[in-house]
Symmetry: D3
């Protein structure tokens, strides 16, 4: 059985979906990026507010919020604003995005500022959180550059570059960047956030029912490293554009 036979999309095991990163997608936000991983499309905006976080004496803050339009998915999901609360899944994802992006920023250099990265899924086909982190990084860079240009930032608070991808075991074989049809049928999946030096920021692997062996874990991390290298290149191409 060839690789392409294994994946519904015909992709090779170590092949990303087509990636697109469109900057300036909307006009009000300091950074506004539409990121696509195949059919997954997430609008990431970076909003700068001139106030530090209330619960913290010094330094600034970077935080994230995540949402999914009700019909981003195959079946309509209920609107969280109408439900009156964010689901546990939403909170878990937005906490992950926020932690990941803070890992490449010197918060002291942001003193007096709060940057909120809003990640809203317009269309979902698996991997929304990894697309959000990858696109959110670009929106954050655009917002930081805007602040440098306007003189609100003395020094560059950015000290690294991050991107994220999912990996998992599908049909018994490790694969990169799962789409929805793979994700819903996979035996275990892992979201990995890495920096441009190939170091880990976040590793979140989950098995329900089928536990994974150490060598499988190693293979998954190798795949993630390859994918993230390509995503970092895509970010750089977009930022150079």
């Amino acid at each position: 059985m060839t690789d392409s036979a294994l994946r519904p999309s015909g992709r090779a095991a170590d092949q990303l979906r087509p990636v697109s990163i469109v900057r300036g997608f909307t006009r009000h936000a300091e950074g506004s990026v539409l990121v696509s991983f195949g059919d997954t499309r997430v609008l990431c905006t970076a909003s700068v507010e001139e106030r530090g976080p209330a619960w913290k004496k010094d330094g600034g803050w970077v935080t994230a919020e995540y949402g999914m339009l009700p019909r981003a998915t195959h079946d309509r999901s209920r609107r969280e604003a109408a439900q009156g609360k964010q689901s546990g899944r939403t909170q878990e994802i937005q906490r992950l995005i926020g932690r990941s992006l803070r890992a490449c920023v010197d918060l002291n250099a942001l003193a007096g500022l709060t940057i909120t990265i809003d990640c809203d899924v317009l269309q979902a086909d698996g991997g929304t959180r990894t697309a959000a982190i990858t696109g959110g990084y670009v929106a954050l860079v655009d917002a930081l550059n805007a602040m440098k240009k306007s003189g609100k930032l003395k020094k560059n608070p950015l000290f690294g570059q991050i991107a994220a991808v999912s990996v998992g075991i599908h049909n018994g074989k490790p694969v990169l960047d799962l789409d929805y049809s793979e994700d819903s049928a996979c035996e275990c999946d892992m979201n990995v956030v890495m920096n441009e030096a190939g170091q880990f920021i976040e590793v979140q692997g989950t098995a329900e029912g089928h536990a994974f062996r150490r060598e499988e874990l190693d293979q998954l991390l190798d795949l993630a490293g390859k994918g993230i290298g390509e995503l970092i290149a895509a970010q750089n191409a977009a930022l150079a554009g």
Copy 2:
């Protein structure tokens, strides 16, 4: 003073902003339309669920939900899902959209079905509710056609066509289709929903501080009629496309 001098955009008093109606903007929903009135962009999806409304014995239902991405606006607004409730403004708007769309549908012919029109504002520049109604109608038509094609609908429940536009008095003069800079400075504004026969579905006029005279009201309604005629033509062009 010429017309164009009166409006920040240079438009004539009776001139709509450029209108764009893109069908099939996302792939999961039965109807998915990105509508633009100038810089105002609203994603309208129509989702069909095979259940009648719980509170109603017979017939189906058409309802609407409205949301604004946090950074659709000039300053970031707080995410309603995180706030734990929808604002009064949001509820008022989604009730208006739902009532308006129900006014062109035979609910009995929809028996056993609920159609939800989700209107999510990606970018706001005034007139989001009228854009939502105008685009929502097209999404609704696409969803009804999809159901007819799949045999879930025996007869066509649609018995009219509707569109909506705002009008207001700006710098002392009635103008059509207010953008944000006009809206925030206008003396009174009115949202008008009409059908293809030029009859009224909804009229909502508001004055804060400056009341409007009967002849001003008449002029505003004339302007609205003109604009809605053009919007109905734009809907038909999109549906024919």
Copy 3:
């Protein structure tokens, strides 16, 4: 068919229900009015608090809250406080009342003060929001007079008088001041708020299923004007009493 045959109450098409405006209905509020439009009875109190609105640097504020006692209606409705939220209908109505009353007040002259008009429906028979606006105006005047007497207001912030009434098409004919039996069966209905000069503050017309023509709209506005003239006379009589 005569007029009286058309209306369950036997009223003429342009006839208001008996109006009663009782001032000083309760003793704590600066203004306290029990207003009746026929069997619709609303208790309107105006409460003055010596604080400006938090979100506004200058000037004072006038706002409104609306509630319905659970058994004000034919069937008991659920208590909103127990539900944990106000319905969309409630919010829409209280926003309308607040906007309407602000339209006759100079907010700058109210600097440092917030006036809340609470409108609580003791018994409902159609037209609760228009009764609330009409009675709320009288409560507001009483509160402003109390503040002038106590020296808290230097100049009179009131620059107009407002009242409200509903109109609609019932059995194919325009009628004034719909009661519940008419309201629940009418083809379209409109709430109109006007000032003492016959100018419009708010016009909110709605058709579900049956759209209304321009000449019908004109007739409805004529009826509203006549009714509001009589309501303004009733307010003046009550205030003179």
Copy 4:
């Protein structure tokens, strides 16, 4: 020092405020009573719904809800529906009213029915919960009689009569039926619910700071018994009227 010197109102220590019980105050509810204990005025409605309680297999249910109009009090209190929840005080009071009224009803005889007693305070001057219980009883009787008349009840579920009053120690002396000026300054207060045989349904006594001795408790219970006897007579007079 004479009794009348002790009480701001000039009442004797064992004297109730003027009591008024008006039946049929609003028209929709099966029972509707406006009860006044002096300046305290509470609208009590009894609403019958033809459904048993969901959480109970057999028999019917009697429950109560309590609310205070925002400006029933000297200073405006925030509307609980707008706050999004009922306060602990509100819940405590409505639980007390419900338990008290269930103590005189055979719930098995109410099978298939739920009666809700809504007690809404129009004006508060101390003793709102005891007025609510006393007036709620009359509304309940009216609703039960209406059901008997309409044939929905085979046998009378009522097996007793109840009323309630507050007592407390004010200026070192036990007094009956505290008004607000006494209540806010009293050393301990007690709400007592009794039946027509002088037996206790509820006794809730509270001391903050100043504990009360057994002989004081005995005096308070004697006063309560006297007052409740008079309230039961007032209920009977109203029901006979």
Copy 5:
């Protein structure tokens, strides 16, 4: 029939369950007490915060919060944090605990401090609120002593000692300290809070269906006095330990 025949536990009518008061049960709180009344076990912690209450200009505050672990009871109850609100019962109980403990403290001497008594039921077998008050008092004393030792308190704010017990009529006979099997079948029950001088702080007696006579009330209060005397001795023994 002997006493022991009357009670499922074989206890005499005036016999408490075995009482245990363990200080220092957890290590972070200024006071931490595990109190057991038979199989009822409540963890009471006293937490000192160096802030006065926001709503009160002078003096400090003592407040209480109450919770029940979901499986403290025979059947699992739903977690209030997951439900999104505290039940009426929970609020009623925590208000009672707070009022009772404030009755033995000079709040002025606590200026600038707030003490929160958290009472969490690990295992429930009737009488959780009375155990909470009795154990909460000991936790409060430990916290006050810790503050005196650290110099945060100049003078001792404690001016009395309190404890609480339940009494009720079971099988027609007054009994002390009801366990769950008695509580769920009793004809009336009463929670009594008293101080070391035998004076009353709170008396809360409830009858559902079966009203209680004055002589029964007297017997119940006598039983409560006896039990509270023993509980106060147990508190003193624990504090001396």
Copy 6:
């Protein structure tokens, strides 16, 4: 520098804190375990309800809820029930516990049953979620055994054994089972859930600011494997006891 110098507790880098697993800690739950990892103490109860999950046609369900008593921590945290919602952290943890425990259970064999594992932290000193998973497993086994004994389960749904531990890099060196003083100062930390075969169920590693290299990740996973082997032995000893 020796290992013991590196850790505030003096433990070796690969040394667990003393582990204690007490079964039958409370009496109502089908499984009730007090687990201690050093000063971290979590009460884990397993509650069986005879209903399948509403959202799932076949099979049973295992879920978890997590809570922290307000004063389990050094400073008092606000009670989530009083706040009206569970924090994102709480939801993230209870989702992790539930997923982990479902990974060793055949849900089909649980048809018609729901088991809820409540994990309530009585005292916190780091590692509450890993203690909860380790103790929750034992409570789950006790509940499954109780159901087998009572005949409610035909076959054993358990097909594996799981435990969890945290690892992290502290003072530049990988260490096992972080206590609070290490956790709050560590450069990265990872929670690992494994089964008795040394396979992974969950891996959640986080770096804020300091990313970790692949060889560090490998060392952390080795440490986790060693610790989980010892925890599985401790579970077995407790279950044999």
